[in-house]
Symmetry: C2
């Protein structure tokens, strides 16, 4: 099967295009009729850097590549629109493997009503998946940036933290399995994360002033948000919503559960700021949209930097416990 | 220099964003306010597949990656808007090298008024540059697809053919240099192609019915256009506008110059169909916009497939002379 035949086979598997798409894959470019504003982001996953082929199925790699890209749209409060995919294919991945990866991506596209509107397939020395996603909004002012946090705002986070990092520990270390019932869910959070697209739109509607997705780790992403907004963030570590099973995996690994919750990346939850009066509406919206909790974990002050108050009374560095003196 | 520092350095080098861009690189996503329609395409270049690092400067690789992506927008008749770049960086490419590559891309962005609005930098086993480009149009009907060619239309091509293939032969074979004055220009066409963005918009305004860029080679791209439009294309080989010096390089290589003109890829000229009455306006528009010639090289009939009539009276296969019986 040559490149053109593979592309033809890929096109056959694509679901029907969404309402904005006038011309999908197969021409020089896709034609889209947006609303007044778009949010566009690109994200790449490379074998050996962001995933390991021996640990995840090809369908899971496809799912994660699209979900990780869509998470950036969630963090803008955008409605998902189109995705454009570059697949770099190494010599040991055959066409059936490419299609299995694509099938995982098509599943996430269908779940999120995202149109796979174009792409490029090329040989590459290692499996590479780069995904550009375009989201839509009625107005550019409806999209939530990182730079709008104001002193007095609350800091909130969707869902639960530390799950993806705990799942990675379980995948990396066979000896840390505790047999707990939550382990499969933790591994799924690592291998098949979900973009909080509906929660992001609910937070935007409720009046979020700044938002970012938790991809690098809560502490690091809080630093990005604080820096962009020019504010100080104070986080109460004892309020962090750690996922079920994180404490057990941390114990088996000899680390503090908060290390996974603060320093662990790839949870793809949303970290947002909003006025205190908007909290109830935001929590209700996030719960209705995705059945997720919304937890107030801190507050915004004038100043700069991020301070994480530990239950015992000390402070943790935002980068996680590794950086503690 | 870590990833975040490199990204900060990259952002410093970006020119001011264009009129559609409300928020450029640095947040979860760029915010853009399009006109009524967008054209979006993605294109990836990989070391050892699409270029060789030992043959091209890093700036040239950056230039070509963006130009090749923009060529797809040219083929839609879209005005260039934004580009989003994934840079996969191997261990032997340092930060200075990344910035040199980016500088090449910034040059092309400035020349074409394209905004580099986002990106992702990651480690990778081989240098990989994936570029997503978004172009703008006032209306989706203004964008020219591959599928609109009608019997009775003329087939036209911008500029000159065979230059990039001849340049590649010169780069590949030191012994084929003839010392002719055109050689540097041929090599430049291979290493630093230009997207015919203004010519594409001029052809769209003049009433082009179908359009594609010549990236795979005139013959192969004609097949794509014929298949999408459901028509037969007849090309008169003796009308093909071969670039200066192509005949000499072909002679030194022991091949027919038409082989380079028909089978050689990466010229990034535009192949279009239009009603005969639109030819003069189209040629004037292309000439005014970019100083390029527009050459009628054949016609559209009912039927299917592509027929290339050779000067001597025979036919060539669209894939080039390699496929001739």
């Amino acid at each position: 099967m040559g490149e053109f035949e593979l592309l033809a086979e890929i096109r056959k598997r694509l679901p029907a295009p969404g309402p904005h798409v006038r011309l999908g894959s197969g021409d020089d470019a896709a034609i889209v009729v947006p609303n007044r504003a778009t949010a566009t982001s690109v994200d790449a996953l490379v074998d050996g850097v962001h995933f390991r082929r021996e640990r995840a199925s090809l369908a899971q790699i496809g799912r994660k590549a699209l979900a990780a890209a869509l998470s950036d749209l969630a963090a803008m409060g955008a409605a998902p629109g189109e995705a454009y995919v570059v697949l770099g294919v190494p010599g040991d991945l055959d066409e059936a493997g490419c299609l299995e990866l694509l099938d995982g991506m098509v599943e996430v596209a269908a779940e999120t009503e995202t149109t796979l509107a174009g792409g490029d397939v090329t040989r590459a020395p290692g499996l590479t998946v780069a995904v550009t996603v375009v989201g839509h909004a009625d107005d550019p002012g409806d999209l939530i940036r990182r730079d709008g946090a104001r002193p007095g705002d609350l800091l909130v986070v969707t869902g639960e933290l530390g799950a993806a990092a705990a799942g990675l520990l379980l995948l990396d270390h066979d000896d840390r399995h505790t047999g707990g019932s939550a382990e499969a869910a933790l591994i799924a959070r690592q291998l098949e994360p979900r973009a909080r697209l509906e929660a992001g739109q609910a937070l935007a509607r409720a009046g979020a002033t700044a938002m970012i997705d938790v991809s690098d780790g809560l502490g690091g992403d809080a630093v990005h948000l604080a820096r962009a907004s020019g504010v100080h963030l104070e986080i109460d570590a004892d309020t962090l919503p750690l996922a079920a099973g994180v404490a057990e995996v941390a114990a088996a690994s000899g680390c503090d559960p908060l290390e996974l919750g603060i320093g662990g990346g790839e949870d793809y939850e949303l970290l947002a700021t909003l006025p205190p009066a908007a909290l109830d509406r935001a929590a209700a919206g996030v719960g209705e949209a995705e059945g997720l909790t919304l937890t107030a974990i801190g507050r915004v002050d004038a100043g700069d930097g991020v301070e994480i108050r530990l239950p015992g009374g000390g402070n943790a560095a935002p980068g996680g416990f590794d950086q503690l003196g």
